[in-house]
Symmetry: C2
């Protein structure tokens, strides 16, 4: 392995470290919501700094590497790393949103047992996990399989939005809580979007094909 | 001007073309909302494709240029261009969201005259315009001045959110309309976020300093 190659490998490692922070953030935010654990929710919001700083480190490493990268595949790896880092940073932001809304929600009695939200979280996190696994192993089939699953999360978010909107109309005293749950559901929908972006970047990285905006069937 | 420099200039032009499409999209979406103009709202949603494709063109041009860029300043211009393109693409998405919600809103009687939303739109679009102007002229003072204004748009969004939440509680028949207005307000808040991102990229581009996540005073 040349020095340049080991620097690229270190870049990948840093991206995976970022990914593990982002994943923990979302998992902890959902756990804080379900368990009504305010300390955990506050911790998620505080720890978002770490993810933000990792993004800056990834970017700085990318710029340093770009100047030395002779091959198109290396350039693609570096620019993809920057994009993936941005998406992971946003996943961290969404985790913070979930954590903040969980804090609001734990001020009032729980509306009902949460079923759909943990389910959406599981789906979104599995997408992110698969996209990152595909990145590590260069497995574009696995990356491609992530993309259509975004629609399922969108559907669940829309369904939950409608249910919560109806619930509000029936019981206006629940409006604040329903709004917080809508925001959390939307945050999960965005996390799935970011996972899809990462999957598209992985396909681009290994196949040199831009598959964004093609729609589920064409992709 | 060398061939490489003229390619960089063409890249900047393409980014500005993208910016003008994104700006028109937001302006038209707000116009569609205020004038209850469904045709215009539909046009905004349809035209989002153009912005998406421009982002892909910018990315492809960046990758081609990166391989040939010898200087750190050029590398920064190219990677900044990719980031700015991503932000503009998202501005287009938010415009589409506004347009879609405007279509929903025009199915029902108007709740009241829209005051805060056009005001937020004006603020967010002025931020974007200044950030892009700073990009064109290498004016980092102008870019830095954009950043704290994001907080004002955030404040307006939060205020509107609270007002609409109270309004819903008083008059549950307005819930669907209030939810649509909340989504539009949130979309404008995100557009201001993207403008702030662009401003931060411009500072980074011309000063080689990463000022993200420093907070308003430090920046």
């Amino acid at each position: 392995m040349t020095h340049f190659e080991s620097e690229l490998a270190a870049l990948k490692q840093k991206l995976l470290l970022m990914a593990s922070h982002a994943e923990s953030a979302v998992n902890n935010a959902i756990k804080a919501l379900v368990d009504r654990d305010d300390d955990l929710a506050r911790k998620v919001a505080e720890d978002d700094d770490k993810i933000d700083h990792l993004e800056q480190e990834v970017d700085a490493a990318c710029i340093a590497l770009l100047a030395k990268a002779p091959l198109a595949t290396q350039l693609r790896l570096i620019t993809s790393a920057m994009k993936i880092a941005r998406d992971l940073e946003r996943v961290g932001d969404e985790a913070t949103t979930i954590a903040r809304r969980s804090l609001d929600l734990s001020q009032e009695p729980q509306l009902k047992a949460y079923v759909d939200i943990p389910r959406m979280a599981t789906m979104a996190m599995a997408m992110l996990n698969d996209a990152l696994g595909a990145f590590v192993n260069g497995d574009t089939a696995r990356a491609r399989a992530v993309i259509p699953r975004d629609k399922d999360v969108d559907q669940l978010n829309k369904q939950l939005y409608r249910e919560l909107a109806s619930f509000m109309i029936e019981k206006p005293t629940t409006i604040t809580r329903c709004l917080n749950l809508m925001t959390i559901s939307k945050a999960l929908e965005r996390i799935a979007d970011h996972a899809k972006n990462v999957a598209e970047d992985v396909v681009y990285l290994y196949e040199a094909r831009d598959i964004r905006h093609l729609g589920a069937t064409a992709a």
